[in-house]
Amino acid sequence: MSRRVRLVVFLIGGGAVAALLAIAFLSMPHFGRSEHLYRDLAVPAAVKHVTANVVSSVNFDQRGMDTFGEETILIASVVGTAALLRPAKEETERRVPDTGRTLGATRLVGYLMLPVSLVIGLDVVLHGHVTPGGGFQGGVVLATGLHLLYVSGSYPALDRLRPLELFDIVDGVGAATFAAVGLAGIAFAGSFLANVVSFGTFGALFSAGTVPILNVAVGMEVFAGIVAILAKFLDQDITVVKEGDQ
């Protein structure tokens, strides 16, 4: 259909959606009210399982099945992206010339911030159950910290520090750990992903039972997944050429 027809159809459909949304929003409970039924149930449950960060408790303890599904979506997207960006039959990979013409200041800041970012990422993953953070955020910080090497140095440096087979293994190990903790829940307490490790004291590093273990599993998986995705995009841009060119 032409652009004009598409616009007219959108205006009709979008207008209807907007009208329905407006009616719905005007009869919703008003913004900032004090009755929240889920919160009244979730916060005492988190405190009973000695988890200081209630959001982590909801993610990995009370609604662990949802997080299991979400990290499966993550792995599926990584596999799909890797399959789509494979070099085709008529393409080859060429070696990248080692030309680095970044500013000295950029390189210095990158090399300084690389260990800092990696340590901060590890901290966010490990303390996910006591401070804001967790496996998802920490994994992303780790992955982008590693790519500071690409921003500040050169691509061959990043390539040396990023063995892709190892990252694929780490991705699988993370997902398998999540499933193994779930099965341990069945073995020891009778339900999938039940919290079976001993709770510690409130706010300590060893508290909240299985939540830190699941945080580490998800952190590993998100780290490896995002590094794998970015590696495929970088390869497509830098190394893959159609046979016959250069």
């Binding site: 913004f31 966010v124 953070g133 955020q137 992303v140 992955a143 995002i226 995009f233 841009d237 060119d245």
Partner: protein, 87 residues
């Protein structure tokens, strides 16, 4: 509704409109990063530090990098295709 909340909500709305109205993808990446930043501030004002951390890392570093790499790859492929058709 504090003034901070009203301001951050308005900024989010304006930034979202700016992202959609940026035609060229290279410019859209920059506006998208700014939109991600305003979203992070809004999430903090809504008392959600976990979500703000998630949004700032993902919307500030990962997604713009992927989009820029994809745009570069597409431009390179189109240029090679044009050179092949010319020769």
């Amino acid at each position: 509704m504090t003034a901070l909340l009203v301001l951050s909500l308005t900024l989010v709305g304006v930034a979202g409109t700016a992202v959609v109205l940026s035609r060229r993808p290279e410019r859209q990446v920059v506006t998208y990063s700014l939109f991600g930043l305003t979203l992070g501030v809004l999430f903090l004002a809504l008392q959600a530090p976990d979500v703000a951390l998630s949004q700032v890392t993902v919307g500030g570093a990962v997604t713009p990098m992927m989009i820029l790499l994809a745009i570069r790859t597409m431009d390179k492929d189109q240029k090679q295709r044009r050179e092949r058709e010319d020769s």
